[in-house]
C-alpha cells in the first residue's frame, strides 16, 4: 500500500485528531505517518522484538482512534498520552513473557553480554545498542529510551511513567551507567577510539 507523505505538517497533532474525530480520512493518514514511527521505535527498543513491537504499535494506535471523540484539546500532549499507552502495553507484554520472574531481579547485565558481543561481531552498532538496552531492567530501559533516543524531557517522561522527575533522573543515570558497563568491552568493535 503506497502512503503519500504527510501533507499536513503545519497542523498540530491535537487539530489532526479533532479532524479525524469529525471523519477526516486525510487527518488519520497524517497522524498514522507522524506517530507510528515514534510508537514503533519506542516499543521495539523496549521489547527487543520487532513483531511484538508492531502489534503494540497497532494496538496503541487503535486506542488513539477510539479515544479521539473524547480528546480535549490543550489539556494534555497527545504524544505523552500515546507514549504512556505504549509503555503500558509493553509492560503487559513483558509481564506475560517473563511470567513469574520479574525482569528487574534477573541478572540481566551478565546475560545480555553475549548478545552484545554477537552484535559487535556483526559490526552493527545499532544492534549492539539494542542488545545492551535489552540488558537493562524494564523501567531503566523505558526511561533511557524516552530520554536519550526519543529525546523527551524529564517532565514529560515523568508524566508517561507516572513517577516524579527525580525518579526519572535516577533511572536514566543508572541506565546509562549500566549501558556503559555493558559496552565497555566493545570499544574497538564500536569504532570508539581508546582514550
Amino acid at each position: 500500500m503506497l502512503m503519500p507523505l504527510d501533507q499536513m505538517t503545519d497542523v498540530t497533532d491535537d487539530a489532526l485528531l479533532i479532524l479525524y474525530a469529525n471523519g477526516d480520512k486525510a487527518a488519520a493518514r497524517a497522524l498514522t505517518l507522524r506517530l507510528t514511527p515514534r510508537v514503533l521505535g519506542f516499543a521495539a527498543r523496549v521489547l527487543s522484538d520487532r513483531a511484538e513491537a508492531e502489534d503494540v504499535a497497532q494496538e496503541a494506535m487503535v486506542r488513539l482512534w477510539r479515544m479521539a471523540p473524547e480528546w480535549r484539546q490543550g489539556e494534555a500532549k497527545l504524544t505523552t498520552w500515546l507514549y504512556r499507552v505504549t509503555a503500558n502495553l509493553c509492560t503487559d507484554r513483558l509481564r506475560k513473557r517473563r511470567k513469574s520472574v520479574t525482569l528487574d531481579d534477573a541478572p540481566e547485565i551478565e546475560d545480555a553480554a553475549p548478545s552484545v558481543e554477537q552484535a559487535m561481531m556483526a559490526g552493527d552498532r545499532m544492534r549492539a545498542l539494542d542488545a545492551a538496552l535489552a540488558g537493562l531492567p524494564e523501567r531503566q530501559r523505558q526511561a533511557v529510551v524516552l530520554r536519550h533516543i526519543e529525546g523527551l524531557g524529564n517532565d514529560e517522561i515523568a508524566g508517561i511513567m507516572d513517577i516524579g522527575v527525580e525518579a526519572v533522573e535516577s533511572l536514566t543515570a543508572r541506565g546509562k551507567r549500566a549501558l556503559a558497563a555493558l559496552l565497555s568491552g566493545q570499544r574497538q568493535q564500536l569504532g570508539f577510539e581508546e582514550g
Binding site: M1, R29, T32, P37, E54, P69, M126, L129, L183
Partner: protein
C-alpha cells in the same frame, strides 16, 4: 564512555524505525473502522400553522385543516382586525342624501 554512548544515542535518533507498508495499512484500516460515521438526522417535521392548530385541537389530517379554518374564522369575526374594520366601515357608512330638494329658496326673504 558516556560521550561514546551519547554518540550511539545520536545515531539511534538519526535512524528512526521505519514502519512497514503492511503495518501502516493495518493502522489505516483500523482508523477507518473506528472513524465516526456521518449521522443522518431524521427528517424535520413540517412546520405548518394549520397542522399546529390541529395538534392543539387534538385532530389531524384533513380534519385538522377544517377545524383550523373554523377557528380562524371565529377569531377574525370577534377580533375584527383593523383592516377588516375599515372595509366594513366603508361599506356600511351612512351618509345623508337629499332625495327631495327643499324649497326654502322660494321663501327666502333676501331675494
Amino acid at each position: 564512555m558516556h560521550t561514546d554512548l551519547n554518540d550511539l544515542f545520536a545515531e539511534a535518533r538519526r535512524t528512526p524505525s521505519e514502519p512497514s507498508p503492511d503495518l501502516l495499512a493495518r493502522i489505516m484500516a483500523d482508523a477507518e473502522d473506528n472513524m465516526a460515521r456521518p449521522v443522518t438526522a431524521p427528517p424535520a417535521p413540517v412546520r405548518s400553522p394549520w397542522r399546529f392548530l390541529g395538534w392543539l385541537l387534538g385532530v389531524s389530517g384533513a380534519s385538522a385543516g377544517m377545524a383550523s379554518a373554523a377557528i380562524a374564522g371565529v377569531w377574525v369575526g370577534f377580533s375584527q382586525p383593523d383592516t377588516v374594520s375599515r372595509v366594513t366601515a366603508a361599506y356600511w357608512a351612512v351618509t345623508s342624501v337629499e332625495v327631495i330638494p327643499t324649497y326654502d329658496f322660494l321663501t327666502d326673504e333676501t331675494q
